[in-house]
């Protein structure tokens, strides 16, 4: 976690460059053979993956049932829209709170666990929530899901925007993604974020420094679950529906794969890279063959074997080697002896 000047900034040059590039996506995405909605999906999954990486990459907590919080957020968005208020902000707050409360419930049971026991309990809780969503037909619609969720207008008080078409929805989600990225970037680089990183490296040492490790772990599970619920709410709105399948074990595994492939263990932006690679591969390779997961799975295996730090880790290594080469004086410039 070596602190750099970039870590101290609230908004970094990388963020600005990324936002500018992302802002141009609707202008060219159709021309490269992709459909515009994939941009919305990438941004929503990026928010989810960044939130997930708070537990996996930052805090070292192997959560394999995180899809539950995403799914709970999706259902909460729809249920709030149908039963409380058809207001975008109220629905998003509902989704975030539902995710956070579910995270609190789970966290109270698992925050004192580590390693494989923690991982198994997250899977167990994920399956419990998935089963509840399938069986509670009167609330969630069961396997049919919640349908007819509306893309609500963005009401800013003095002016309101319609986001029912994919391009305007994309720009709304991009703005939300930018805010979430800034908030999480600061969180990760704050004293709190560094402590989570310390806990990942040694829970025992951190406890002996006077920190209540259990409370820190519980807090980050709640925060991560809250942001995952928020992303789930956006997803429900974008899909105009909420289904139990986003909560199942396989879907929970996807975010783990995206995060690891992208390099979430070594880079804040790793999960975003993983989401882009995964969803683009799904559409590009998936257009050629139904067995696209075979190819992506093979890539995942190769990465884990040869580059466990993921794409971001490989990129970091390249940059370090390039810098090292630049720092080595060449023979021609070296002082001659004699």
């Amino acid at each position: 976690m070596t602190g750099t000047s970039s870590d101290a900034r609230l908004i970094t040059p990388t963020m600005i460059a990324a936002w500018l590039v992302l802002a141009t996506v609707p202008l060219w995405i159709s021309k490269v053979g992709l459909y515009p909605y994939i941009g919305v999906e990438i941004l929503i999954w990026s928010i989810y993956a960044l939130a997930f990486n708070l537990v996996l990459g930052v805090s070292g907590l192997p959560s394999f049932g995180h899809g539950a919080f995403f799914g709970i957020g999706a259902y909460a968005f729809g249920l709030t829209q149908f039963n409380v208020a058809a207001n975008l902000w109220v629905c998003l707050i509902g989704a975030t709170l539902a995710g956070a409360v579910a995270g609190l419930l789970v966290g109270l049971f698992i925050a004192h666990r580590r390693g494989i026991y923690f991982a198994l309990l997250t899977i167990a809780f994920g399956q419990i929530f998935w089963t509840i969503s399938v069986k509670s037909h009167s609330i969630t619609g069961g396997e049919d899901g919640l349908l007819n969720i509306v893309r609500l207008p963005v009401n800013l008080g003095v002016v309101a925007f319609d986001i029912s078409d994919n391009d305007s929805l994309y720009y709304f989600v991009l703005a939300v993604f930018a805010v979430v990225a800034v908030v999480l970037w600061r969180l990760v680089n704050s004293p709190y974020g560094r402590l989570l990183s310390a806990i990942r490296q040694s829970e025992v040492r951190t406890a002996h420094l006077g920190y209540n490790v259990w409370l820190y772990k519980l807090s980050i599970i709640v925060i991560s679950a809250g942001f995952s619920g928020f992303a789930g709410g956006l997803f429900a709105m974008a899909q105009r529906s909420a289904f139990p399948d986003v909560m199942n074990l396989a879907q929970s595994g996807l975010v783990v794969m995206m995060t690891l492939v992208g390099g979430g263990l070594v880079s804040f932006w790793g999960p975003v890279i993983g989401v882009i690679v995964f969803l683009t591969a799904r559409d590009v390779i998936g257009a050629m063959t139904n067995a696209w997961m075979l190819y992506f799975g093979t890539m995942f295996v190769l990465l884990v074997l040869f580059r466990p730090d993921g794409i971001a880790g490989a990129f970091k290594l390249l940059v370090e080697r390039w810098k090292a080469r630049g720092a080595t004086p060449s023979l021609s410039s070296a002082p001659r002896s004699g």
């Binding site: 976690m1 070596t2 602190g3 750099t4 000047s5 870590d7 101290a8 900034r9 609230l10 600061r186 969180l187 680089n189 704050s190 004293p191 709190y192 974020g193 560094r194 402590l195 990183s197 310390a198 490296q201 040694s202 025992v204 040492r205 951190t206 406890a207 002996h208 420094l209 006077g210 920190y211 209540n212 490790v213 820190y216 807090s219």
Partner: protein
């Protein structure tokens, strides 16, 4: 006056009694050594003292307050810091960052998410002072995993010192060190004598006998001998057990 007191401390893991009954007191400002053969219960006592192991019965008083059974973080907050025999530094952090997270000022801001750590001079200046006090002045920006073994041992102590403890517990601080490293560490710990109350579990008898004010010998889960290094050199049990073969 005793700053640390253990009274009738008994620990068992299942049917196996590890500490039968430990009675021990450490005066304020004293460097108290703990020695004993392998499997005697030294490390278990150390872990009980620092909260990693809860005693089945008995009392541990820190400045008069019973802390037996409290969690490690609660005991640390009461002023007891420890180093580890198997080093548990934060390897992804620099030396400075390792020390920074141990500072009480940092701990007070543990849940702070408003400001970034990088560039916060209030932490880095204090951390650099602590590093300088253990001879790591020029190593602040180096990743902990890239430090030499001796430097990592010194960093272990720096992290404990950064907590501004009243009691410093050192678990086999010379473990893995060569002669030069041990001498440098002895110098460092010698410089802390009198400023802090120190409890050190140690196998290196020469090291312990040269530094300690008093030593307790633990065997079969109880203190079988205690006294100054000179007294222990004359102790019949210590002589017979070959523990006092310090030259």
């Amino acid at each position: 006056m005793a700053l640390v007191e253990a009274e009738g401390v008994h620990v068992r893991f299942g049917d196996r009694v590890v500490l039968e009954e430990i009675n021990l007191s450490v005066n304020e400002g004293e460097l108290h050594g703990i020695m004993g053969p392998n499997g005697a219960g030294k490390t278990t006592f150390f872990n009980t003292l620092t909260g990693r192991v809860k005693p089945n019965r008995g009392r541990i008083r820190l400045n008069g307050e019973d802390v037996a059974g409290l969690s490690p973080h609660a005991i640390a907050r009461k002023g007891l810091a420890r180093s580890f025999q198997i080093m548990t530094l934060f390897n992804d952090f620099t030396a400075q960052e390792n020390v920074m997270v141990a500072l009480p000022a940092y701990r007070a801001r543990g849940f702070d998410v408003r400001r970034a750590v990088a560039g916060d001079a209030s932490f880095s200046d204090e951390a650099n002072e602590v590093l300088a006090s253990v001879g790591l002045a020029g190593k602040a920006g180096i990743s902990a995993k890239l430090l030499s073994y001796g430097e990592r041992r010194a960093l272990e102590i720096a992290v404990a010192l950064a907590q501004r403890p009243r009691v410093l517990c050192l678990d086999e601080p010379t473990s893995g060190l060569g002669t030069d490293g041990t001498l440098r560490l002895a110098e460092l710990i010698g410089s802390l004598k009198g400023k802090l109350t120190i409890v050190a579990v140690e196998h290196d008898m020469r090291f312990l006998f040269s530094l300690a004010d008093r030593i307790s010998v633990i065997h079969w889960g109880q203190v079988v001998a205690r006294g100054t290094p000179r007294e222990l050199q004359e102790n019949a049990w210590v002589k017979r057990s070959n523990l006092g073969s310090f030259g």
